[in-house]
Symmetry: C2
Subunit: 313 residues, 2 copies
């Protein structure tokens, strides 16, 4: 099935999109816009730290932010299974409202479709977003040799929170999703450095997958210090017990910034006390990400070949 | 259930959107844009005259066109049920491509989510679209007293084609959905008249529902000549047999134009040989739509209180 999904993506990408990008850059009569879409099918609808409504707003806000654009407007397409409780829809609507207010975007157009019982799993949401790229060239799409790599906080919380909520593991508690809008953090990073090589949010596939993509598209090597990568103890424990690598687990409020060494400390400071410089871009072992262990040995972090967890967003 | 859906819509509308509009008008640094979203859950996926891919592109193109905007960009969010045949996705992707090329829009961003078997009915699509409003004030949002009302062709074909395909009625054949992009027809209408009072595509709820909405929001009366409303014989027969009123059945390639009497013939001509002037706007029986029968009597066309057919788009 995993191979099939990949070929579907590829087919769509080849036949319709030049590049199945998280957000597209458009030019409309001299104004540069970012445009992005995502469907949210997360299960369960409500989880510690968020719900499908919060996720649907902040996920799309974040995709736009990663382009260096300021998110302005959101659309909301909802598919509901007949029989869904009105209280659930109300709760989700309130959450969409709160998340959009918090991130400073306006929900301007919407649509609800109802399908019969059994034709959807409770409720799905699509959001599309429009942002404006105010300063051209502040955020590039490729890493540069010598760049420092900064992450804005600890990893793997969203994926583990969803799994915990879905499977009702009794033995672990206190893990909350990091689901939140990143646009203001991105703003801070941009104000700290006029020139960011590339940014990426660490959703599906986590840190390792994002880095592997960047290494490949930039034709450069990446080195990460294992000891510098922040993971909270409870999250690490849950990953250990269940056999997940936190570097591959999805986040919904984390991103990496690639920036020239001279601006790295400024950007790290701008991103707050949880931010860490975790590695650098090198000219050797091109297209490869290497994790340097505390003992000084290194291992390659390959691309994630399949989704570790279905329906995490 | 119908009442519940309505209160859901209202709840969302109140809590998030000022007005659950088909398309929103936005201003981005002095550029006026139209932005619209719709989810498509049509059943079956393929039907005479179209499929979910064509529908998803042209439906959103049409919502934008009704604002007097030129559609430019489309996003594509697909939710797939695990196990869906690759050939089906391929066919839909090809159809999206063809429809977007035909309507002159570019699919610029996309997303696929796969849910487990039984968590969706084969395939759902959300499209959002961005258009540019090049000339302000060419299309208003209210009817004016004395306006002529023009429809661009015969009614009720989409709804009846879907029902026919879904239920496999053997006794009726040759009914094809009118599903198509309207942006170039809208362009022609706009070139024929510099000032259109209001336009509306005749989707869910058909002609009668669109007119009832316009009468109400314009605080004016509407009179329609029953004999002038075009419906093809096979479609009328199917409606008669199954007890549907063609005035309330959904279309996917039809719209009404409200325009001052002096421009009416020009607009009708611009819309081609299937267009008809079907009625006028009056200052009496405000907020009411009346159908004038061939005998000269009249009956009120009320708002459609519930969807006649589920999953027609």
């Amino acid at each position: 099935m995993h191979g099939l999904i990949e070929s579907m993506r590829l087919e769509l990408s080849n036949s319709i999109l030049d590049e199945m990008a998280d957000a597209a850059e458009l030019s409309v009569k001299g104004r540069r816009l970012a445009f992005s879409t995502d469907s949210y099918v997360v299960k369960p609808l409500f989880f510690p730290g968020g719900d499908i409504g919060k996720l649907a707003v902040s996920g799309t806000v974040n995709d736009i932010s990663m382009k260096g654009a300021r998110p302005l407007f959101i659309s909301l397409g909802i598919i509901i299974e007949e029989g869904l409780g009105f209280d659930i829809l109300k709760k989700v609507a309130r959450s969409v409202k709160k998340a959009s207010r918090r991130s400073g975007v306006k929900v301007v157009t919407g649509d609800i479709k109802v399908v019969e019982r059994g034709a959807a799993d409770k409720l799905y949401i699509n959001t599309s977003g429009i942002g404006i790229i105010e300063y051209r060239g502040r955020v590039g799409s490729r890493a540069k040799a010598g760049d420092s790599i900064i992450v804005n906080g600890s990893l793997a919380e969203h994926g583990m929170a969803i799994l915990n909520a879905r499977e009702n593991f009794g033995f672990i508690s206190g893990i909350k999703s990091d689901c939140r809008n990143l646009n203001f953090e991105v703003d801070k990073a941009l104000r700290a450095s006029g020139k960011i090589s590339v940014m990426r949010d660490l959703t599906r596939g986590g840190l390792a997958t994002a880095l592997a993509e960047i290494a490949r598209s930039s034709n450069l090597g990446i080195e990460i210090e294992e000891r510098a990568v922040p993971v909270k103890p409870a999250v690490r424990r849950m990953c250990d017990i269940l056999g997940f690598d936190p570097l591959y687990v999805a986040n919904e409020g984390k991103f990496v910034v690639f920036v020239g060494k001279k601006d790295a400390r400024k950007v790290k400071k701008a991103l707050g006390r949880n931010a860490r410089i975790i590695g650098k871009v090198v000219t050797c072992h091109k297209k490869e990400v290497r994790l340097i262990t505390p003992l000084g040995s290194s291992r390659i972090l390959p691309d994630l070949e399949y989704d570790q967890l279905p329906r995490i967003c």
